[in-house]
C-alpha cells in the first residue's frame, strides 16, 4: 500500500460517524441533551415551514462545508419531496452570500489603498 493509499484508507471523515452523533451526550450529558433539544425544536414547523428550514439547512451545510450535514439534509430534502432543482438553487443562495461576503471586503481594500496611496 502506498502512503497515499494509507492516508486514503484512514480518512478524517467517516460517513458512518453521523449515526453516532447522539453519542456526544455520553461525555457531557447535560450540555449534549440541551443541544439536541434545541436542535429538534429549531427544525419543528414554526413561522417557517419544516420544508423551508430543510432548504436553509442544506444551503448552510454547504457554506459550512460539513459533509455529514450535506448527506443528512440532501436525504431530508428528498424525503420531503424537495426537487433537485430547488436544492441546487438553495446552494446557490449560500454560494452567493459566500462570494458576496468576500467581494464586499473589496471596499475595505479600496479604502485602505485610497488611504495609503498619494
Amino acid at each position: 500500500m502506498t502512503l497515499n493509499e494509507k492516508i486514503m484508507a484512514k480518512p478524517y471523515y467517516d460517513a458512518s460517524d453521523l449515526r453516532n452523533f447522539g453519542k456526544i451526550t455520553e461525555w457531557s450529558e447535560d450540555l449534549g441533551n440541551k443541544f439536541f433539544d434545541y436542535y429538534g425544536k429549531v427544525f419543528e414547523e414554526g413561522a417557517l415551514t419544516a420544508r423551508e428550514k430543510s432548504l436553509i439547512a442544506l444551503a448552510v451545510s454547504h457554506t459550512e462545508q460539513c459533509p455529514y450535514c450535506i448527506d443528512a439534509y440532501t436525504k431530508d430534502g428528498l424525503q420531503r419531496g424537495i426537487t433537485k432543482e430547488e436544492m441546487m438553487e438553495a446552494i446557490h443562495v449560500g454560494a452567493a452570500i459566500k462570494s458576496g461576503a468576500t467581494l464586499v471586503h473589496g471596499v475595505q481594500m479600496m479604502n485602505k489603498v485610497n488611504k495609503l496611496e498619494m
Binding site: R19, T49, A50, R51, K75, L78, Q79, R80, G81, T83
Partner: protein, 351 residues
C-alpha cells in the same frame, strides 16, 4: 429503464428464498442491527397477532402494463400469473360472508385480468362497505378497451387508489417508465371528469406516494399539501387523500438497493426510524392477503416472499375466518418497512 421482470431476466432475486437469505444475513446476522423479532420483543409485542379483520386484499394477477423500478410484486407484461375464474368464484363466496368492511383489489394491474369486470360486479353486489381498486392510472390510457374504466368504477362506487410518486414528470418517469407521468395526468383528469376526487362528490380518489429512491417518505400531510397544490395549479387535478408508503426491501426494490450499494444504509435508516407505536396498527394485523392462485398470506409483501399464513387454513378453498384469526403473523426483516417513522401500510401512515 428496465423493461422486464426479475423472473424474465433470470435474476437471482426472482428466487424468494434468496431474498429471505439476504434479509437474514449480513448486518442482521453479525448483530450490527437487531432482527425484527428481537426488536418487537423489547416491547413485548412478539409474537405478532391479528386483531379484528378489516380488509380482504385480493391480488388478481401479476401482469401489468408497467415495469416500475421499485415494484415489490415484480409485475410486468411478461408475468402470466392471473387469477382464474374458479378462484374468483371462491373469493366471491368468501367476500359474501366475511366480517371485513373493506375489499381491496390489487395486482399487477388488476384491470388486465380478463374477468376483472365480472368480479367487480359480483363483489359489489355483496354489499361491501369500502371497495378499493388499486389502479396504476396508465392502464386507463393503455388501450381503447380500458378508456371507459372511470365510468365503470363510478357505476360500482369503487374507491380508486392510484400510484403517483411525484408531481414532477422527471421523478415519476424515472421510477415508473417514460411517458408514465403524462398518461397518469390524463387518466387523473378523466377520473375527475366523471366526479372522482372532486369537491362534494362521494367518489373517492386517493393517491399513493412512495419515494423514488433509497430514502424514506416524509410527513404524509405535508406531502399531500404539496401534491394538491402542484397538481391543481398545473393540471387542475383534485383528489382526496395522499397515502405515503415506504418501499420495502424486497423484489425489484431490493435488487435496486443492492445494485446501487444502498442496501445497508437503507436498512440502517429503517431500523433507526423504528416506531413501536406503528406496530400496533401494521396492516398484517387487520388484513388477509389472497394470492392470484388462492393461497393466503398475512400481507401482500409476505405473498411476494411466498410466506404463506401460519395456520391450518392456507388456501381460499378451506377459508375459515375464525381459524385464520388465531395465528401468529410471519415476520422478517422486511417488516421494518412498515414500522419506520409514522409507519406504512396500503392505507398510508399508521401511527
Amino acid at each position: 429503464m428496465t423493461t422486464k421482470s426479475l423472473i424474465a431476466r433470470n435474476n437471482d432475486l426472482a428466487n424468494t428464498e434468496k431474498q429471505l437469505e439476504i434479509l437474514s444475513n449480513g448486518i442482521f446476522m453479525n448483530g450490527e442491527l437487531p432482527t425484527f423479532a428481537n426488536k418487537i420483543k423489547e416491547t413485548n409485542q412478539f409474537p405478532l397477532r391479528p386483531k379484528k379483520l378489516e380488509i380482504l386484499q385480493i391480488n388478481l394477477g401479476y401482469m401489468c402494463n408497467q415495469v416500475c423500478a421499485h415494484c415489490h410484486v415484480d409485475a410486468g407484461p411478461d408475468r402470466k400469473e392471473i387469477m382464474t375464474l374458479t378462484t374468483m368464484q371462491q373469493c366471491i363466496k368468501v367476500v359474501k360472508n366475511t366480517g371485513a368492511h373493506t375489499l381491496d383489489l390489487t395486482g399487477g394491474a388488476p384491470e388486465m385480468n380478463p374477468n376483472f369486470r365480472w368480479f367487480v360486479e359480483e363483489a359489489s353486489n355483496a354489499g361491501i362497505k369500502d371497495f378499493i381498486v388499486r389502479s396504476n392510472l396508465t392502464i386507463i390510457r393503455a388501450n381503447k378497451k380500458y378508456h371507459d374504466l372511470p365510468e365503470f368504477f363510478k357505476k360500482h362506487n369503487i374507491h380508486v387508489v392510484s400510484s403517483m410518486p411525484h408531481w414532477t414528470r422527471g421523478k415519476t418517469d424515472k421510477q415508473r417508465g417514460n411517458g408514465v407521468f403524462d398518461k397518469s395526468i390524463k387518466a387523473l383528469q378523466m377520473l375527475n371528469e366523471v366526479g372522482y376526487g372532486t369537491k362534494g362528490s362521494s367518489l373517492k380518489l386517493d393517491l399513493v406516494y412512495n419515494p423514488s429512491g433509497a430514502f424514506l417518505p416524509g410527513d404524509q400531510k405535508a406531502l399531500e399539501q404539496d401534491f394538491k397544490k402542484s397538481l391543481n395549479d398545473e393540471f387542475k387535478i383534485t383528489f382526496n387523500n395522499l397515502f405515503s408508503i415506504t418501499n420495502l426491501p424486497i423484489s425489484r426494490f431490493l435488487d435496486y438497493l443492492i445494485a446501487s450499494e444502498n442496501y445497508e444504509d437503507y436498512m440502517v435508516s429503517l431500523v433507526d426510524a423504528y416506531n413501536h407505536k406503528a406496530i400496533e396498527n401494521v396492516m398484517c394485523t387487520n388484513t388477509i392477503s389472497i394470492g392470484w392462485d388462492g393461497w393466503l398470506y398475512d400481507c401482500d409483501f409476505n405473498q411476494m416472499l411466498n410466506l404463506k399464513v401460519d395456520s391450518k387454513i392456507k388456501h381460499i378453498v378451506d377459508y375459515n375466518e375464525e381459524v385464520l384469526q388465531n395465528r401468529d403473523i410471519i415476520i422478517n426483516q422486511h417488516c421494518y418497512g412498515c414500522t419506520a417513522g409514522a409507519g406504512s401500510s396500503c392505507q398510508g401512515e399508521v401511527a
